[in-house]
């Protein structure tokens, strides 16, 4: 069974708190659309608004579905480079496609070990103590995030069963404290994204972005804040648990997202 382990979320809470500032630090780079030369500045300013509205959201969406840490687009004199926030990148990327439903988890080994390709390899075993190897993704930022969580002790360390620390302090608080807002599952059941759960869609706090079907009764998955949908983390038709991350939303600005 695929492992669904993220080093950060498995670390004791104190470590997790400590890891957060680092993780969020390079984030400002994401939206940096940087003109190359002074002379182009005037022309550039006219293009910036248009670019941010059209190109950037689709690039963000693209980045969320790809397993790369960085994305750069060159168009004429323009370079747009997007980089995943450290820590959030490999995590979200992994959940977007690897998650097949409630899963086994055991104690983890080899946290942060370099691995090929995308974020995770692992083998769940019946004993529950099977190995799960989490590796960093391609980019430097993502690898750094992996490495920073190496302090997690083996053995009976608390095991995160599939998503980060929303639980302890309630969703709102945790979302505010971590990274981009995420619409989480209100129930145990089968997830179906709604028409608004499409990259680039603007949503308001409380908007329905999907449902979780619990024994035939749909339970609304709602956007926790205003923002732009980046993409679904879990495919439609997947079994999900209570509180599981389902739809990734980009807050209007980086500072508001914190």
């Amino acid at each position: 069974m695929p492992q669904e382990r993220e080093p950060d979320r498995d670390a004791p809470r104190a470590d997790r708190e400590a890891a957060r500032p680092d993780r969020d630090a390079p984030r400002a780079d994401r939206e940096a659309a940087r003109p190359d030369r002074e002379a182009a500045r005037a022309a550039a300013h006219a293009g910036i608004g248009q670019l941010l509205d059209s190109l950037v959201p689709s690039l963000i969406a693209k980045l969320a579905t790809l397993n790369v840490g960085e994305l750069e687009v060159t168009e004429g004199d323009w370079h747009v480079r997007l980089r995943r926030p450290a820590g959030a990148g490999p995590d979200l990327g992994r959940r977007a496609t690897d998650r097949t439903g409630p899963r086994a988890h055991g104690s983890h080994e080899g946290v942060g070990a370099p691995g090929p390709g995308r974020g995770i390899t692992g083998s769940g075993t019946g004993s529950g103590t099977g190995s799960g190897t989490v590796s960093g993704a391609a980019s430097g930022a993502a690898s750094g995030a992996s490495a920073s969580s190496n302090g997690t002790p083996p053995g009976l360390a608390p095991v995160g069963p599939g998503r980060p620390d929303e639980g302890e302090a309630g969703h709102a608080a945790a979302l505010a404290a971590t990274r981009d807002p995420i619409a989480t599952s209100p129930a145990v059941g089968i997830f179906q994204p709604g028409p608004t759960a499409v990259a680039g869609t603007r949503v308001k706090a409380g908007d329905r972005v999907g449902v979780v079907d619990m024994l035939g009764i749909p339970q609304d998955v709602v956007a926790p804040t205003d923002g732009i949908v980046i993409g679904v983390i879990v495919e439609g038709g997947t079994a999900v648990e209570y509180g599981q991350d389902l739809v990734h939303i980009e807050a209007p600005t980086a500072t508001e997202a914190r």
Partner: protein
């Protein structure tokens, strides 16, 4: 046999069920609330699924959440453990309606044994002694006086709709009865909206003795001996042992034989426990049946060598009992100490917090069923049971000695526990002589036991 079982409980019993599943070679999914994300059962499980927030009403007591979790994880049975939904016949019915099996009695059996009053009548018809009481509800004062005279004073006036001691009075004379009836009627009326009362014989200084039974789907039943749970605090058991020191071997055998005969005749199925009050003369009175695995089942397991949880799962899967009565040969004596996160110095106030150090005692005849580990944070949302320390010996004195050594060896740092009251109790003369009664701890006060232990 089942292929995959959803464990819809937490704490030590979730771990105990997980172990039984492993023994049986059945996959298990641990359903947990957000507060139990880091729990040992979740860590050790083959698979685990979060069913809701820490509030039990939205997790461990949420029927849709539990059923949905079983469905999406591909389970074919649900083990409810004890407490929560373990004896809820509606839950058992919903489980069945989703083509899943409830590990416990089938819904119609749960339904038949749901009412305490009805069960007493039913099993009374099949030969179990019940507490003498009025025939039906008392109509008026005159009827009450006649019935009380027939039962014999002192009698207990009880409301039919009762619970929690409201509208209940013990009276010693006809004069007291006449004045108390009016008070009880008005109390019952305001508390339950129903003022019907009945009378029951008042039993002083009773022992709590319970018989473990197992009945398969084909009507074959065995008993697995009895346990004595007379060491109680406000109706909460804190020490259980077997066999009971209160009865002679012949009286114990007779009680167990009558218990299994009655439940088989009444159509019970799966494992269960029949609770009796035993009066000072050694006469037992049936009070209720528990249709689930009990906290103190380990006492019986140590005496008989039989895995009761595995047996419960097999019976629910439709397997015939693998044991005859002659195969059940209890040996020696076993005592269980319930280790709770409670402060005996402060009226057993429940506590929570992080377990800084934990060491489970060992040695011959020692068993510790607990979900603790160093670093575990005891959540404040659920009951305070941290684990069960069990000690077995070839005789009662050895079991007590081993229990004492094990209590001394046990290390739980970081949270307050009730270990001191256990140490005080097993040093107490009344306990050593096997004379504890259910009301003793409350009547004397646990402080007195602690103080006596401190002096010696």
């Amino acid at each position: 046999m089942f292929t995959k079982i959803l464990i819809a409980n937490r704490g030590e019993i979730a771990l105990r069920i997980l172990r039984a599943c492993r023994t049986l070679g059945v996959e298990a999914v641990v359903a947990y609330s957000e507060a139990d994300r880091d729990s040992l059962a979740v860590q050790l499980a083959d698979e685990a699924i979060c069913i809701g927030p820490s509030d039990a009403r939205r997790s461990y007591l949420s029927v849709p959440a539990i059923i949905s979790a079983a469905v999406v994880t591909g389970c074919d049975a649900i083990h409810p453990g004890y407490g929560f939904l373990s004896e809820d016949e509606t839950f058992a019915e919903v489980v069945r309606a989703h083509d899943l099996t409830f590990i416990g009695p089938p819904p119609e059996v749960l339904d038949r044994f749901a009412s305490k009053e009805g069960t007493r009548r039913l099993l009374g018809e099949y030969g179990l002694p019940t507490i003498p009481g009025s025939v039906g509800m008392i109509r008026d004062d005159e009827h009450a006086l006649v019935e009380a005279e027939r039962i014999g004073y002192p009698v207990l006036i009880k409301p039919s709709a009762g619970g929690g001691g409201k509208g209940m009075r013990m009276v010693r004379t006809p004069r007291e009865l006449e004045s108390a009836i009016k008070v009880c009627r008005s109390e019952a009326k305001s508390a339950f909206g129903d003022d019907s009362l009945y009378l029951e014989k008042w039993l002083d200084d009773t022992r709590h003795v319970e018989v473990q039974v197992a009945v398969d789907r084909y009507g074959k039943g065995i008993h697995l001996g009895e346990r004595d749970c007379s060491v109680q605090r406000r109706h909460q058991k804190i020490i259980e042992e077997g066999p009971t020191p209160a009865l002679t071997p012949a009286a114990r055998a007779d009680l167990c034989d009558r218990a299994i005969a009655a439940v088989v005749a009444a159509g019970y199925e799966n494992i269960g426990t029949l609770e009796f009050l035993v009066d000072a003369e050694g006469d037992p009175y049936f009070i209720e049946i528990n249709c689930r695995i009990q906290v103190e089942h380990g006492v019986t397991e140590m005496l008989t060598g039989i895995d009761l949880v595995a047996m419960q799962i097999k019976i629910a899967a439709g397997e015939p009992l693998a044991y005859d009565q002659a195969d059940v040969q209890p040996r020696g004596h076993a005592i269980e100490f319930r280790i709770n996160a409670e402060d005996p110095e402060h009226d057993f106030r429940p506590g929570a917090g992080v377990v800084e150090r934990y060491h489970a005692p060992g040695g011959p005849g020692i068993r510790m069923d607990s979900h603790l580990f160093p670093g575990y944070e005891v959540p404040p949302f659920y009951d305070s049971l941290l684990g069960k320390l069990m000690a077995w010996g070839p005789d009662r004195a050895t079991a007590i000695e081993r229990g004492r050594a094990a209590l001394d060896e046990l290390v739980i740092d970081g949270i307050i526990t009730n270990v001191e009251i256990h140490k005080a109790l097993i040093a107490n003369e009344t306990f050593l002589e096997g004379r504890m009664t259910t009301n003793l701890l409350d009547r004397v006060g646990s402080a007195a036991f602690l103080a006596a232990a401190a002096r010696s």
